[in-house]
């Protein structure tokens, strides 16, 4: 990744500015609309609705970042909105009475967004560590606490609320912010960071194995989303001219959730459209005002039963058009790399309760070595992989990867050290394309920050191009280029296995751990796989550790074999030594058989 840093600060700034030019050019247009329509008395009611839509869009699109892209579930968005609103309102009400250039207004919005983002960090940091539904409850509880705090704070006007807030936010301000939110979210999603968010949603274990810091990304999504909600709150206060704690209840949060779910979790255009529809609907259903929430809730339940991913799913509106397809980049070859000492496991033991799954296990893997790990079912082979990749910490013993003790490291840290794996029960990101699966593998090799991805910094673009090239190359090595834009879940079984290998190779590993790559494949595919494993070693210069039951494959490909039985290493050596080792045959075929056929075994006529 060296030598990618191009351009001075000035050129960087110019590039960023250029990429935002269409957006900046849109602001005067908004202002003209404001001048000719929004400020006219006849249009007042229409523009009140249009502005409400703009605020709703900011809220829905930002919540979509957490609930849709990252697959978490926050139902306290109104709380962050309240923080942004109140912080900025308090500043505005105490600020200078004249603010001709709206500089103080901008500062107050920034302060509101910052406060909301900080709150997002405080809430997200402890609760996002956990899996499951806790986040939903914590965010809900947090939203309620915020309300209680506001109602009990004199500074915030207590239960009555704040009024009058200078009404600076008009059509231009609100829609500039709404369009900016959409653009920022879109750029974020299309960057390598966006794929990291998606990988968290699809499969956290696999994402960690690919080097994605899943907790870190959840917190980031949460903080960004909270900050955007803060902007919405600030604008809302400065638009309405007043704020009261009653407008930030659970019901408000729920409306935003309904927008995200209805539009499709992960679809930015979906959220935008749903925000508009659900904002206008109550206006036209005034007669049914009492039934509004009943209708919302029924719609939500029915939608979950019929279309669980929302109306648009993860797609955007234009994906529904038949002629859209991405352009392809021609693949290019990359030179293999060499490296020093790799894996060194010293007397590792792991116990689950009273069960010792693997005991006193030692293994060294040298660069470019092909090692196989065999043994009957339940021998502890996959557990060894889980130990190596940091899914479980060892109860005793040490594991060194490239000379570094992995104790206390998270799986994504170990992936950074150069271990990549596949899973026995394929764990692809099923709802992402083959291409995105591989691109995600490249994620941890990138350097550029989230902010730069949004700004379209030069390095981010160079990196993105490099990732695309590398991913296409890997797909073509694995013979999957024709599947580039297919969803991983739609690939045939054998291709899914190969895609998993491609994804693992994308992390640029020094050692590749393959967990039963031949499972469920036929004879022809097996011999192809044998060749493929050798090719991978030669081309990418990686060591391969293989768990496999197919003896022909194991004997054909591996240079060294290690046999586990009941968590104990019963033999290790060259393939032909293992073939005639009586303890191995006993483990595979049973004690009785081994005793009765001792003669044949000694003569090398029986093979496991």
């Amino acid at each position: 990744m060296a030598g990618l840093f191009g351009g001075s600060a000035l050129t960087q700034a110019r590039r960023a500015l250029l990429s935002w030019l269409p957006f900046i050019a849109a602001i005067p247009v908004l202002w003209l609309v404001q001048y000719f329509f929004a400020d006219q008395r006849d249009w007042e009611y229409a523009f009140q609705n249009i502005n409400h839509i703009g605020i709703a869009i900011i809220l829905a699109v930002s919540l979509n970042l957490v609930n849709g892209l990252t697959g978490q579930f926050s139902i306290g968005h109104a709380g962050f909105m309240a923080i942004g609103g109140y912080v900025s309102a308090v500043l505005l009400m105490r600020g200078p009475s004249e603010d001709p250039y709206r500089l103080f207004f901008i500062a107050s919005i920034a302060a509101g967004a910052g406060a909301a983002a900080l709150a997002g960090w405080l809430v997200g940091k402890p609760s996002l560590r956990l899996r499951g539904d806790y986040l939903a409850i914590v965010t809900l509880g947090f939203g309620e606490i915020i309300r209680v705090v506001i109602e009990n704070t004199r500074l915030f006007g207590g239960a009555i609320g704040l009024s009058p807030i200078p009404r600076y936010a008009d059509f231009t301000w609100i829609w500039t912010a709404a369009i900016a939110t959409i653009l920022v979210t879109k750029r974020l999603r299309d960057s390598t960071h966006g794929r990291a968010f998606l990988s968290v949603r699809e499969d956290e274990v696999a994402a960690e194995a690919m080097g994605v810091d899943t907790t870190g990304y959840k917190v980031r999504a949460f903080v960004i989303s909270a900050g955007m909600a803060g902007v919405a709150g600030a604008l809302s206060g400065a638009f309405e001219g007043n704020l009261s704690p009653q407008s930030f209840t659970f019901v408000r949060s729920f409306e935003i959730v309904a927008m995200v779910v209805l539009g499709g979790m992960g679809s930015i255009t979906g959220s935008t459209i749903a925000a508009a529809v659900l904002t206008l609907l109550p206006e036209y259903l005034r007669a049914l005002a009492n039934l509004r929430m009943v209708i919302y809730s029924i719609a939500l339940v029915v939608l979950m039963l019929v279309r669980p991913r929302g109306l648009l799913g993860t797609r955007e509106v234009w994906d529904l058009l038949p002629w859209r397809r991405d352009k392809r980049v021609a693949p290019r070859a990359k030179a293999p790399e060499l490296s020093a000492a790799l894996i060194d496991v010293r007397r590792a033991t792991i116990r689950f309760g009273g069960l010792t799954a693997v005991s006193d296990f030692s293994l060294t893997v040298k660069p470019r070595e092909l090692v196989a790990l065999i043994g009957p079912n339940g021998a502890g082979k996959t557990t060894v992989f889980n130990l190596l990749t940091g899914v479980y910490p060892p109860s005793e013993g040490t594991i060194l990867v490239r000379g570094r003790d992995t104790r206390g490291l998270a799986p994504h840290d170990i992936a950074h050290l150069g271990l990549a794996r596949t899973f026995q029960n394929i764990r692809l990101f099923r709802e992402l394309t083959a291409f995105d699966n591989v691109r995600l593998g490249c994620h941890h090799l990138t350097r550029e920050s989230i902010a730069a991805s949004v700004r379209k910094g030069e390095l981010a673009e160079v990196e993105e191009k490099w990732i695309n090239q590398r991913s296409e190359e890997l797909l073509s090595v694995m013979g999957l280029l024709h599947r580039r834009d297919d969803l991983a879940k739609n690939l045939p079984y054998g291709e899914q296995r190969r895609l998993e290998i491609a994804r693992a190779l994308a992390t640029d590993p020094k050692a590749l751990l393959l967990d039963e790559p031949a499972a469920g494949t036929n004879q022809k595919e097996k011999s192809e796989l044998m060749q493929l494993i050798r090719d991978i070693r030669d081309r990418f210069g990686v060591a391969v550790v293989l768990i496999e039951h197919d003896m022909k494959l194991v004997m054909g490909v591996s240079e060294r074999i290690l046999v586990l039985d009941h968590g104990v290493t019963i033999a290790q050596g060259l393939p032909r030594e293992i073939q005639t080792n009586p303890r191995v045959i006993e483990a595979y075929l049973g004690e009785k058989y081994a005793r009765e056929h001792a003669g044949q075994i000694a003569a090398g006529q029986v093979q496991p």
Binding site: I137, V138, G141, N152, V205, S297, P308
Partner: protein, 299 residues
């Protein structure tokens, strides 16, 4: 000191109600790994049905013990059916889909009950009297309300009953088996659908009792009354270790006490913040709860 004892007594009484609701959360979570958000609203429906039945039988005008029993039984029956229907229509079709979907559905059902209730019942609180008036017990400055005594006695009796069902009956064994591993349980001949339905019905019946007791304590009923107690009961379940039946009881008591003490010595307006403060603390310090045990995800 008398004030302190008063807070303890009030705390135990509120805590017993939280514990009754928390049991429903924890049992459903145990078998389905689903946070049944609508549970707090089943509790509300229990109170509301009680109000309707009490008006219909004339119980609200001339309260009597037998009348109160009838009201409670009626609301248990209706809530049991409601729990069954909710599971059947809203959760069962989603059993194999992502957890997020079930959670959204649960919130949808919760809102449906709240706002459907508001539509039928009207948004304003109504007075609820089913228990005969009684001065309660007094020991110097400490007073022990009649409702509190009934609440504690009924809750303890129900919890003992539940403990017997879960640990000493065939269906209880089946519940524990499904909670441990549903697939294996079904291979052993356990009818998972029936066990899950039973769990919902059982939880809803307990919530109905809690609803009637809660409404008698404050004496009023309104459509959004389930929201806060429901959330707090969930916190109680997490505090005790979600999926753990004795944990839910312990969690309910601890939460009830903490709340009373904070609102007694600090300010009652901070009362609602206590539960969520505790929740965040538990998640930080001991995510598996007081009595829960953690498990690693199998890869």
């Amino acid at each position: 000191m008398a004030e302190f004892f008063q807070h303890i007594i009030d705390g135990i009484s509120v805590g017993a109600i939280y514990a009754l609701i928390a049991l429903g959360y924890t049992m459903v979570y145990g078998v389905l790994k689903l946070i049944n958000f609508a549970h707090g609203d089943v509790f509300m429906v229990g109170a509301m049905i009680g109000w309707y039945v009490a008006r219909w039988t004339g119980e609200s005008r001339s309260p009597s013990i037998s009348g109160a029993l009838l009201v409670t039984l009626a609301s248990m029956l209706v809530c049991g059916c409601l729990g069954f229907v909710i599971e059947r229509l809203a959760y069962r079709p989603l059993r194999n889909s992502p957890r997020l979907n079930s959670l959204i559905t649960a919130i949808g059902v919760s809102f449906f009950l709240e706002y459907g209730g508001q539509y039928l019942f009207g948004p304003n609180p109504r007075v609820f009297t089913v228990l005969p008036r009684h001065p309660g017990l007094h020991a110097g400055p400490v007073s022990l309300g009649y409702v509190d005594v009934v609440t504690v006695i009924v809750s303890v009796a129900l919890m003992i009953g539940l403990q017997r069902i879960v640990f000493h009956t065939r269906i209880g064994t089946a519940m524990r088996a499904v909670s441990f591993n549903a697939t294996v349980a079904s291979l052993m001949g356990v009818n998972i659908d029936r066990v899950i339905s039973f769990t919902f019905v059982l939880g809803s019946v307990l919530a109905a009792v809690a609803g009637v007791l809660y409404a008698s304590k404050y004496p009023s009923v309104q459509p959004l009354m389930g929201l806060m107690p429901g959330l707090k009961a969930f916190v109680a379940a997490v505090l005790g270790g979600i999926g753990n039946v004795p944990g839910a009881m312990l969690g309910g008591l601890v939460l009830g006490l903490a709340e009373q003490i904070v609102s007694g010595y600090l300010s009652s307006s901070w009362r609602d913040a206590v539960a969520f403060g505790i929740l965040i603390l538990v998640l930080l310090v001991r995510p598996t709860g007081l009595l829960g045990r953690g498990e690693a995800e199998k890869v």
